[in-house]
């Protein structure tokens, strides 16, 4: 079998970039996107500038994948934004941006990916949630709501796509030091880590480990699951 074609959203920086580099090293053909230009390169990597919630831009990515590779094996819906604020201080614009990126973006990529994956009766989709959902974190209402929606999508799409040979799962990381949580005060992060059974920050490799499990060919009987890190 030729090398897998893997699409990852939000690859300019953070977890998405790390995961993209990991799969490039493994020899996958990796396609990534983010709103900004990427400042890293790899012979196996192609970057698209696209907002994940922009249907026209997203369709362009998929039509390029279809023309160049004719198939898609793996989709990782990593692109995401957070809003860390008391709800009374959260403008509706922020809520809309969070929902569009995290929910609409994930939906769009799942939908378009399934159209391509169904051709080969094989596909692996991994969505990104967070432990903030089960921990019901205060100060993250919009973010938690958006990720709860991502889990809902994961559950329903797992059922809808099952007969197409596509699994849909989600990973829920604990705090990992990226720009996403840079603005959160240290005592808040410490308090959050303190609620985890295993009390440490997450590492990129913790996420990769779970993603590798979900996308493995042998995981064809695993779908509709959300796996939280740190024992949450």
């Amino acid at each position: 079998m030729s090398s897998p074609v893997t699409l990852i959203t939000g690859t300019r920086k953070g977890i998405g970039r790390h995961v993209a580099e990991h799969f490039c090293k493994k020899g996958h053909t990796v396609i990534g996107c983010s709103r900004g230009e990427s400042d890293w390169e790899d012979e196996n990597y192609r970057h698209f500038i696209a907002d994940v919630s922009d249907e026209v831009a997203v369709k362009k990515i998929f039509s390029a994948i279809r023309k160049e590779h004719g198939r898609l094996d793996i989709l990782l819906n990593n692109a995401g934004i957070a809003s860390m604020n008391h709800s009374l201080l959260t403008p509706v614009k922020t809520v809309q941006r969070v929902m569009e990126t995290n929910v609409v973006g994930t939906f769009l990529f799942c939908r378009e990916a399934a159209k391509l994956m169904k051709k080969n009766k094989f596909g692996r989709i991994v969505n990104f949630s967070t432990v903030a959902v089960p921990l019901k974190l205060e100060g993250e209402a919009a973010y938690v709501a958006s990720k709860a929606a991502v889990e809902g999508l994961t559950n329903v799409l797992a059922r809808e796509f099952a007969e197409l040979g596509i699994t849909v799962n989600a990973v829920g990381p604990v705090p990992i030091s990226t720009d996403l949580i840079r603005a959160v005060p240290k005592d808040k992060i410490d308090a959050l880590v303190g609620r985890q059974p295993i009390k440490r920050l997450g590492e990129m490799d913790d996420v990769i480990n779970v993603v590798e499990f979900f996308v493995s060919r042998s995981s064809d009987f695993v779908t509709g699951q959300c796996l939280y890190l740190g024992g949450v």
Partner: protein, 96 residues
Amino acid sequence: MQDKILELIIRTARELGEDELSLGGDLDADTRLFGADGVLDSMGLVTLIVAVEQAIEDELDESVALADEKALSQARSPYRTVSTMAEYAADQLQGG
């Protein structure tokens, strides 16, 4: 335009063939696709719609959504026959 799309739908359905669409026999413009006496089940309809969207994109270089809310809620479904589907697709292309 409509004729071109009609031809494209029939070709696409033939390419998908027996395995993917579970079509009983060959089809023409008047073949009942979906609904009473339709040859497709709902998954077959989805498969055909997606394949036709992709074929339109490949051959006409236009992006079209054949499965929007309007189509699904129309009393007289545009997916009744091959020719109503072609008519609907042509409308979508001209309108959008």
